[in-house]
């Protein structure tokens, strides 16, 4: 355990090296919210709802969604594909550490780092814009936290699976871009809530992991899923998580036999 805490500490130290990156990263969050509130206050002028969403729910969808994005979809596992292709992965493989835990330690610190600063930024934004947000019941809040936890784990293994494609294919970045960026952004509901899409697409997406990582947690927050459905979605989310765990383990076992350790 000590070794993984040390990996997390070193990761944290890396973040503090680039002060300008750090500053601009935080500024980017602030600019997003300024733009978001300006746009949506214009769009929602004179309206009380948009589709099945009230205006406070729309605000909540994107504001809480932004937190989920920062917390779930930030990952260092995206580096693995490149490291496999250029052989830098070797420096990790010769050490008595678990590759999975190594990246998970880095991810956790990444998420905590984001969460810590986002908390203060969030307070500042609430004070500045005073948006009316939809808040969940205690039950929904607990279910939301469970969903968030599942999303983090599911996305971690999902991202590992994408990265491990590099053991077999030299096109590590194209698969990362398609499955790790395009599919995640569109099919998880980050651009627009999935119930704005034709129902048939929503039904198809139910059989993919994407809505479980972003859309359903938000629907739970907004209280738009009944209790029985929450249990069912949580069960589905857990199965997805287990599926990607086993798939990533299988790919790891097979992939390390294919590893070519390019370069001297």
């Amino acid at each position: 355990m000590v070794k993984y805490i040390r990996i997390a500490i070193n990761t944290l130290q890396e973040y503090f090296v680039y002060r300008v990156n750090f500053f601009f990263g935080r500024l980017q969050v602030f600019i997003f919210f300024v733009m978001f509130f300006s746009l949506w206050s214009a769009v929602s002028a004179g309206r009380s709802s948009l589709g099945v969403y009230s205006i406070p729910q729309i605000y909540s969808y994107f504001v809480v969604g932004y937190i989920i994005k920062a917390f779930v979809f930030t990952t260092r596992t995206a580096d693995i594909g490149g490291d496999i292709q250029n052989g830098n992965f070797s420096t990790l493989l010769i050490k008595p550490i678990s590759t999975l835990k190594y990246y998970f330690s880095r991810d956790i610190i990444d998420k905590l780092f984001n969460l810590f600063f986002m908390f203060w930024e969030f307070i500042l934004i609430l004070l500045l814009f005073k948006p009316e947000l939809a808040m969940p019941s205690l039950f929904n809040f607990i279910a939301f936290i469970l969903f968030l936890f599942l999303s983090i784990i599911s996305f971690f293994f999902y991202s590992l699976v994408i990265s491990f494609i590099a053991f077999w294919s030299e096109d590590a970045w194209s698969s990362r871009f398609l499955f790790g960026v395009v599919f995640i952004t569109i099919f998880s509901g980050q651009y627009i809530p999935l119930d704005f899409l034709p129902p048939v697409i929503g039904k198809i997406l139910d059989y993919t992991p994407y809505p479980y990582m972003f859309y359903y947690p938000l629907k739970v927050w907004l209280g738009q899923i009944d209790q029985n459905m929450i249990y069912l979605r949580l069960l589905n989310g857990s199965l997805i998580c287990i599926f990607f765990y086993f798939l990533s383990q299988f790919m790891w076992l097979k992939g390390k036999q294919k590893y070519q350790s390019y370069g001297n």
């Binding site: 493989l93 010769i94 550490i97 070519q260 001297n264």
Partner: protein, 325 residues
Amino acid sequence: MSTIQVKNLTRTFQIFDKKPGLGASIKSIFYRPQRTVHAVENVSFEIKQGELVGFIGPNGAGKTTTLKCLSGLLYPSSGNISVLGFKPSDRKYEYLNQIGFVMGQKNQLWWDIPPQETFLLNKAIYNISDTDYQKRLDFFIKTLDIGDIISVQTKKLSLGQRMKCEFVAALLHNPKVLFLDEPTIGLDVIAAQKIRDFVKEINQQFKTTVILTSHNMNDVKELCKRVILIDQGRIKFDGLLSNLTKKFAELKILKFVFENKISKTDIKKFGEIVDGDGYSYTIKVSKEKYLSVASKILTTLPVTDLNIEDTPIEDVIRQVYTDKN
């Protein structure tokens, strides 16, 4: 019992040869004929504990591939490897805890933070006690003279400084087996010498088994009694470095100094001139004839000094590489 046992090791890679030009690139989207390359073929050897063995050969000979198979980075295509009683490709923690690997062209130090942070991480990874860590770090700092650089960001260090720190990171846990892949590549003569002295010291002091690959013959000459010469994936020689010269060198080097100026034509008839300014000459003569040639020159020309040497190891290896023997 040997620390390292390798029996009939073969490692193949699938290679795709792309013809030059845009047309060939477009064609390669649809069709990529593969061929199998034997990076290492039927290689067998054994290394005892505390030995320092040089693995030499031209580029692409299979040296690094062998080292990667020994460390568990690559799975062998066939054959058996045992290092410290373990099968390296199993990558068991008990095994990885006992090996160190310095790759001359790969960084294991964290790039953005000082080397001391990587050292602390390795302390945690290898479960090194506080006392051992401090004792070893002090030893490395003193031996490698790195006291003032371990707190500087890795990326701001020179290549030589970084290599020294790479050694520390690879050796903090006092590995029983150390793999060194081109450890002095790109280093100036002083830094390279420092690294060589250091390897010698840890080999003697801790009885660390060391396998070294290097194109720098000074590394091999100064450090390795035994060498394994590999070419095109096959072992061409395995034995004492001194025997390599005996086995492969066909020539002896004779160096003469004369009282008067002697013309090149007078010397040419005795052997191939390597160097000469009239007052001194260096010539190459076959092993069978060198005694009679030396005697003839001594009796016919005004010699003031004579020196007989073996062919430099670099030349011997070059001969083996180019298959002239």
